[in-house]
Symmetry: C2
Subunit: 184 residues, 2 copies
Amino acid sequence: MNFCSNCGARVERCVPPGDSLPRFVCAVCGTIHYENPKIVVGCIPEWEDGILLCRRAIEPRHGLWTVPAGFMENGETTAQGAQRETLEEANARVEIVGLYALFNIPHINQVYMLFRARLLDLDFHAGAETLEARLFAESEIPWDTIAFATVRRTLQHYFSDRRTGEFHFHMGTIEPMAKSKAEG
Amino acid sequence: MNFCSNCGARVERCVPPGDSLPRFVCAVCGTIHYENPKIVVGCIPEWEDGILLCRRAIEPRHGLWTVPAGFMENGETTAQGAQRETLEEANARVEIVGLYALFNIPHINQVYMLFRARLLDLDFHAGAETLEARLFAESEIPWDTIAFATVRRTLQHYFSDRRTGEFHFHMGTIEPMAKSKAEG
């Protein structure tokens, strides 16, 4: 950030009075420009014993597999965002079952929220940001080419829970260099 | 948003190629300025049969009661944010028990995440943005002067769950004009 989005003057980096962290502040109009983590919403679309994965047509991780997920937009709920991303990436309609996993990724200022969801029909196909969308049984999951640590860990929990017959909410933190830990 | 925070030129509102929503876009340097929901993190600090509430010294809702909560910062986890807010608003140290409630507030682009937490000692006192911090038994909760719908609904769930002896994760959506519904 170089300029004030309100008045166009140059911003400075300083700790505002009464605050404890440095912010971008406009010396001309006084606006404080806070920066906050972004939410990534997505889901695990289920159909019988399979789940829907998408192969990414965009960077980062072009060509690797993920569940449908993307940045939550203003004006929607977390569940609506997960449904919208599933429609955009796989042209697939889902019913949300419930929140399944929440991962903090503090070094890139993201919070992932992944839901369990039921595919409503098999009339799906790759969207513009997807090379390929298909159902995978557990034995077919491409573990070596999963795009993101959040997705790999969520799928590990998912199949482990499924074997026990009971799904639990999972929460954790992804740290740089694959160091990671459970939390809360 | 009037100016590009990257190059200082005026921004325009338009739907970028390949996108489906209007964004603020800089015609000079091409930066697309996405706007996304913010996360509010907080907790219900428990001590024996009481919980800690704070009376707000700032707007909005000056003088009304809330649980410690505030905007999540970059570089922290949701649980760390809840602990930090509790320290800032009530000078209170807590151990996080688990995520208890998630509320979407799509009309103001916020997602609330409130944890259950254990107060570690009774050496708390009002922080700079708090008029008063004190423990309340259920019979003492000031229901008529609770600051936010999210907090009121979370506390209703909390005491209802406590009576059954089992705490469950709750998720819902707060709509304008106190219209609201459960979800997911």
